[in-house]
Amino acid sequence: MATPFWGSGGFMLEIKNLHATVNGKEILKGIDLTINDGEIHAVMGTNGAGKSTLSNVIVGNPAYEVTEGSITFNGKDLLAMKPEERAHEGIFMSFQTPIEIPGVSMTNFMRAAVNARRQAKGEEPLKSTDFLKIMREKRKLVEIDQKLMNRSVNEGFSGGEKKRNEIFQMAMLEPTFCILDETDSGLDVDALRIVAEGFNKLRTSETSAMVITHYQRLLDYIKPDIVHVLIDGKIVKTGGPDLALKIENEGFDWIKAELASI
């Protein structure tokens, strides 16, 4: 078992009794989850268990409604914040399906994002030359092609390029808490490795993350401290990295059987 890094010891993210609905249907049925500074938590589960709902609720997607419970982030009430305010607090989600935005160039998009965050922190917007310099450095770090930067956001990007672009944006925004929502879906092994290594390079001792995945494969690269199993809107099992290996070999049926026997 990897040694958890407890960082400053604070509870970065604290979710209590979280219930959420989509189009009136209850998906999350009471989630309790605490992620400390520097920890990596994996969330695994069957299709439709509520994994993506959980990540979307944390980042404040207006399509999801929280009906009960609370989320605090570094002691602040996250649910009272707009999505952009949560981003300014340091929350980043790598999207399962990154969105294409025709007509908005990557450069302009990142400039708007970086400067909005600086403004929220009371800092001056970056000078154009400084901004482009940072773009160049981060681009090299995650090995993303310059020509993609002049294109519209994600437009005409391959599946791998889109995922790598998510990690590039993470590099630009330097979040303290990252959600990787099925970052491995649709990636071949090489692309997966590059994306995971990109994440590991960016990670500091304070960065914590929630990694949502169906497979052990991603967890070979991004080693979790704690693994949760989400079934039918609840976390039904929590364990160490071994739990992910066991799920990889045996699936979820044994957990469902355990639940049924209670």
Binding site: K82, E84, A87, M93, I99, G103, A116, L173
Partner: protein, 405 residues
């Protein structure tokens, strides 16, 4: 009360004065145009091409009618019709349709016309820019008449800017007749950047002969009520016409564009792209007809109207039309009305871009497609900035406008 009456009375009072100030070429057709106006009046909403604009309501207020002739310094390609060094009677009022009440009224009242004349085989190296500044101490009606003639082999880029002082109401009628002779090339931009107190009725008629390329760009950045008509007749083979439009409306502004491209001869191409962003409680209307007559074989035509309704209260009416009487043609037309892409908005907000800024970026990106097609690079760059300012709500301050300095 029908609002024609005040204009009929006005004509009775001032027609002699107008005739004195004007010239034969205009006076020769004046009474006939007035008779036509008396007969047809202002088009009601029952008239198909005016169904989206209540003309009567905009002409009803009592405006002072300006009969002053502004000084036009004659330059290489520009002069007043009354001072024309050449006989232009073969052009003036020959393609304007005086069965249209607004055109008829303009022909009856306008006492001079601006002429842009590019002689045979001449290339106007620099763009010809015409700035129209509306200003005055009272509500004013202005009737502008324009004649554009590109002789055989001539080439020109024309930019017409409309500005207005923001404290007065202005009602403008414009009739522009454009003649493109064989192998001439015209790129013309009409850019309106007025105020919510302005009403504009513009009727543009374009005659295209053979081997021409003609681009007409209608850009409404800021306005009150705008109704633009653009009628193009393709009379010579191997010509290409492009009609592009960019319309941005917010508040309770209205923008109504109505176009007709009439393919009378074979082997011509027409492209049309009009894009609208309507926000707040504004109303946009687009009706564009491509008419392919029976001899116009091998016509290629594309018409697209795409619209973004950025608020729940904004309204967009769209009516792309194709009427084809030839059997060997390639024509396509389509229109879309969409709302803001919520997934894209959320994606940007997750990265920390505030909602308002994200909306602005999406609107800007949507309009970018039309601005991108502007060939004149300095103008394209300027319009990218202006469109962004418009969406940021900064254009009203009109910082580069001479009137406000």
């Amino acid at each position: 009360m029908k609002s024609e009456q005040q204009y009929i009375e006005l004509y009775g009072e001032v027609s002699n004065l107008i005739k004195q100030k004007s010239c034969d070429i205009m006076n020769n057709v004046r009474d006939a145009a007035f008779a036509s106006f008396e007969k047809v009046g202002f088009p009601s909403k029952k008239v198909e091409r005016y169904k989206y604009t209540d003309v009567d309501a905009y002409f009803a207020p009592n405006y002072g009618v300006s009969l002053n002739t502004l000084e036009v310094k004659p330059s290489k390609y520009i002069f007043r019709l009354a001072e024309s060094p050449i006989d232009l009677s073969a052009y003036y009022n020959t393609i304007a349709d005086n069965n249209d009440g607004i055109t008829a009224l303009n022909t009856a009242i306008a006492h001079d016309a601006l002429v842009i004349y590019v002689p045979r085989n001449t290339r106007a190296e620099d763009p010809i820019q015409v700035d129209n500044w509306l200003r005055g101490n009272t509500s004013t009606m202005v009737n502008r008449r324009v004649l554009v003639i590109l002789e055989q082999g001539a080439e020109a880029t024309i930019i017409m800017n409309d500005h207005a002082e923001d404290k007065q109401r202005f009602l403008t009628t414009q009739v522009m007749e454009i003649f493109c002779k064989d192998n001439s090339h015209l790129d013309i931009y009409e850019i309106e950047e007025t105020t919510p107190l302005c009403s504009r009725f513009s009727n543009v008629y374009i005659n295209v002969e053979r081997d021409c390329t003609v681009k007409h760009n209608s850009i409404t950045l800021y306005n009150g009520q705008t109704r633009n008509l653009c009628d193009v007749v393709l009379k010579g083979e191997n010509s290409e016409v492009t009609l592009n439009g960019c319309a941005i409306a917010g508040g309770s502004q209205r923008i109504d564009n109505n176009t007709l491209i009439d393919h009378r001869v074979p082997n011509c191409t027409s492209n049309e792209l009009y894009k609208y962003v309507v926000d707040d409680k504004s109303v946009g209307a687009f009706a564009g007809k491509i008419l392919v007559e029976k001899d116009a074989q091998k016509t290629v035509s594309h018409e697209t109207n795409s619209n973004l309704c950025a608020s729940a209260d904004a309204r967009m009416f769209t009516q792309p039309m194709l009427e084809i009487y030839a059997d060997d043609v390639k024509c396509a037309h389509g229109s879309t009305v969409g709302v803001m892409d919520e997934t894209a908005l959320f994606y940007m907000r997750q990265r920390g871009v505030p909602e308002e800024e994200a909306r602005m970026l999406l609107k800007n990106a949507f309009m970018g497609q039309v601005i991108d097609q502007i060939q004149l690079q300095p103008l394209r760059d300027k319009l990218f900035v202006k469109v962004e300012k418009r969406f940021r709500g900064e254009l009203e301050k009109c910082d580069d406008c001479r009137l406000c300095k």
